[in-house]
Amino acid sequence: MTNVELQQRIDSEYRWGFVTDIEQEPFPKGLDETVIQRISATKGEPAFMLDWRLRAYRHWLTRREPGWATVHHPPIDYQSIYYYAAPKSGGGSNRPKSLAEVDPQLLATYEKLGIPLREREALAGVAVDAVFDSVSVATTFKAKLETLGIVFCSFSEAVREHPDLVRQYLGSVVPYTDNFFASLNSAVFSDGSFVYVPKGVKCPMELSTYFRINASNSGQFERTLIIADEGASVSYLEGCTAPRRDENQLHAAVVELIALKDARIKYSTVQNWYPGDAEGRGGIYNFVTKRGECRGDNAHITWTQVETGSAITWKYPSCILRGDNSVGEFYSVALTNHHQQADTGTKMIHIGRDTHSTIVAKGISAGHASNAYRGLVKVLAGADNARNHTRCDSLLMSPDCAAHTFPYIEVKNPSAQVEHEASTSKIGEDQLFYLRSRGLGEEDAVNLIVNGFCKEVFKELPMEFAVEARKLLAVSLEGAVG
């Protein structure tokens, strides 16, 4: 196909870019200990939480932004961000007790995003926690889950209702000292989701959080904590969107997963934050720390991510394989177009014996975008018979894009087997011609090839999400081939 034909194609609009006009209750811009005290007070937190937040804040003051990722952005002014923004009708102790009390405008917003929150309309088998700017506004199917002893609620609620669980597990996988953005999150996080699945319980439905940034000049700092007790299992989905704005907005979340003996956690993300426009104006800075720990034997954690949004993505969902026989998996599709930048990958830390990890990372780079895989596979001396297999492929769609692969492999045990393979190539002209000669339009041909390229990852997603992910990829790639 010719470049002229390509340029004639019109880039699709970001369909989730609308703004909800709702009364906000922001704190003043900027960050100091008073702001943190206010966040904690607004949420009615116990003293241990405020104490933890303040320690995190004081640590954050001593840290610098990490500079090693292959991403570039103007300096972030941390004093010009609103650290807390909540819809007036939903924040803090005003949080509605039931869906009937939720501001109809919020319900309409989520409906418009394709996430109906009224249970009778909701997807059967998916419980949703909806986070709007800084707070969780609604959680569906709570009562049904409670009968099984499963706790699925907003983080704020968990702090109030289950302080012992929070105290025991918060920061136990990602301590507040972990990195610059994790420290910041620990100091100011406003809400997020909390899941506890008790011993032996298999959660019967998908749990899901839908994150929405709405307010301007605000940062979103949510925190998710998922605990699967012995023999428990849970599948968790996460989706996110934000309005189109010319400014960059910071999203610095932390997710901690804890899988005890024989437990299984499957965490899937379809990340579609506003990516900025075709010239690279605006978009979300997605600086996220996600880590899971297989704390007991035979535990199993799977991360699956489809990353199509954000101006900059910086995230490395990781697994600490502490329990013997535990398994960590990471399946990722990262697509960057226009001026997007992604530096993403995973860390697999093998500590226990007979631990296995699998990494499948697919990067697609188009326009002027840059896409890097960065990963660490570390086998400690005690991890007898550890196994890792990593497959890392990049597809290049334009002469101006960039694709990088930065794997780190560190092995201290001779019975380990670690294999890493990576390839980078252009989307095949011959393949495109072959498909077009069968009557497929060039866009369909590209989509078919890209979907084939990503198949290993998509098959790890729950059904509805896989369909969504395919559509998202097609939309994000419109006008991308060159």
Binding site: W68, S394, T405, E410, Q417, V418, S423, T424, S425
Partner: protein
């Protein structure tokens, strides 16, 4: 912060012509300002040079304290001892093969090689070499000329705690062809530090086969740099063997600067005892139709640590670039470590790049199979190790140097507990 006295003292003892004295002084100041590289630098995350700061390093005595027992080399030879040329055995004219000091500054200087100093970059260790190299070596092969015999450069160390700065410049003119062997050795019982820099320019269509063998003392530190620039349709084939040294790091910066250049980089490293070795490769595809193949095999035994850090960068418009990288490694002891960092950095779209890295151990099934055929366990192990590294030794046949090299390589292979040397 490093104490500058030893370095200043070393510089004061170099009798350089005036036009170079200033450059040397400035290079030394740059080094002193930057200091030794440390683990804060991404390129030095695995190898530490801290021990150098505790050593009583000094410039070697002049003239050298002892003359070495020379071994036979199947080709032309320049042999250096403690940075001084002590033996020359070649029929090549001095304009083709001689000391670098003569080539660029001495009475016999014809013309200063144009690219001298321009490839090596300005890392702090390179600055130090630029300040303190002594005689050096220079190989210049004229256009169309094909050297019949390999050229051997032997850099030996004999004085304890000496700092040595071998410096080599190679210029391969249009269509020339040669085999170069750099051999780094040292008195087995002493500590010293070799910090060599070799620059290689390949003009259009030139071909160089380059063997580089680190066989330094088990107590030595070796931090070497090879910088190569390739013009169109030139061919650079290298075999890098790291068999010795307590700390041995080799950095290879290769630029495929014009279209159609081809590079093949093979290597074997063996980290035994408490040694640390690092192979640090930077391959830059700057022009279209470049082809690079990297094939390294690594072994880590006892408390050894082996590092493979290879990066391929394809610059914008270097279309139809093809880069393949393979790093396979074996861990032979519960206390050994292998780190691999194969990287691709791609800024063009019409490329075919891949890398593969593995870390594992000797195949138990294969060992058992060989034992079941009556081969004792140690022999079986050695057979498998030899087979494992052999994939990277193809150049030995192409250069006819297999017979010369294999005994050294075998001697360096990790032995089992009660290993009898193979006959």
């Amino acid at each position: 912060m490093i104490t500058p006295t030893a370095y200043r003292e070393a510089l004061s003892r170099i009798d350089a012509p005036g036009k170079f004295a200033a450059a040397r002084q400035s290079a030394l100041e740059k080094f002193l300002q930057a200091g030794l590289p440390d683990s804060h630098l991404e390129d030095w995350r695995y190898i530490s040079l801290e021990h150098l700061e505790r050593m009583p390093l000094h410039a070697p005595a002049d003239p050298p304290l002892a003359l070495p027992a020379l071994e036979d080399y199947p080709g032309a030879v320049l042999a250096y001892l403690d940075d001084r040329l002590v033996w020359r055995d070649t029929t090549l004219p001095a304009t083709m093969l001689g000391t670098l000091a003569d080539a660029i500054g001495g009475a016999a200087a014809t013309s200063t090689p144009v690219a001298f100093g321009s490839l090596a970059g300005n890392a702090s260790l390179t600055q130090l070499n630029a300040a303190l190299w002594r005689e050096g070596a220079c190989l210049r092969v004229p256009a169309g000329e094909r050297l019949r015999q390999p050229v051997f450069l032997r850099f030996a160390a004999a004085e304890a705690d000496a700092m040595l700065y071998p410096r080599v410049f190679v210029h391969m003119a249009v269509g020339s062809d040669a085999i170069l062997v750099e051999h780094f050795v040292g008195d087995p019982d002493i500590e010293y530090w070799q910090n060599p820099v070799t620059e290689i320019v390949l003009e259009a269509g030139a071909r160089l086969t380059h063997l580089r063998i680190i066989e330094d003392s088990k107590l030595a530190t070796h931090t070497g740099l090879t910088a190569v620039h390739q013009a169109s349709d030139s061919s650079y084939r290298a075999l890098n063997l790291t068999l010795g040294g307590q700390v041995a790091r080799h950095e290879l910066n290769l630029v495929l600067g014009e279209s159609g250049a081809e590079a093949r980089l093979d290597g074997v490293f063996i980290a035994a005892g408490r040694s640390r070795t690092e192979q640090h490769l930077r391959i830059t595809h700057q022009a279209p139709r470049g082809n690079s193949r990297t094939l390294y095999r690594g072994l880590a035994d006892a408390r050894g640590r082996g590092v493979f850090d290879g990066r391929v960068e394809v610059r914008p418009h270097a279309d139809a670039s093809d880069a393949q990288q393979s790093s396979r490694n074996l861990l032979l002891s519960p206390h050994a470590e292998i780190d691999a960092k194969p990287q691709l950095e791609i800024y063009a779209d019409d490329v075919r790049c891949s890398h593969a890295a593995t870390v594992g151990s000797l195949d138990e099934d294969a060992l058992f199979y060989l034992s079941s055929r009556g081969i004792d366990a140690d022999t079986a192990r050695r057979l498998l190790l030899e087979a494992f590294i052999d994939e990277a030794l193809g150049l030995l046949d192409d250069t006819g140097l297999r017979d010369w090299l294999m005994p050294r390589l075998r001697a360096s292979l990790p032995r089992g507990q009660a290993m009898e040397p193979l006959s």
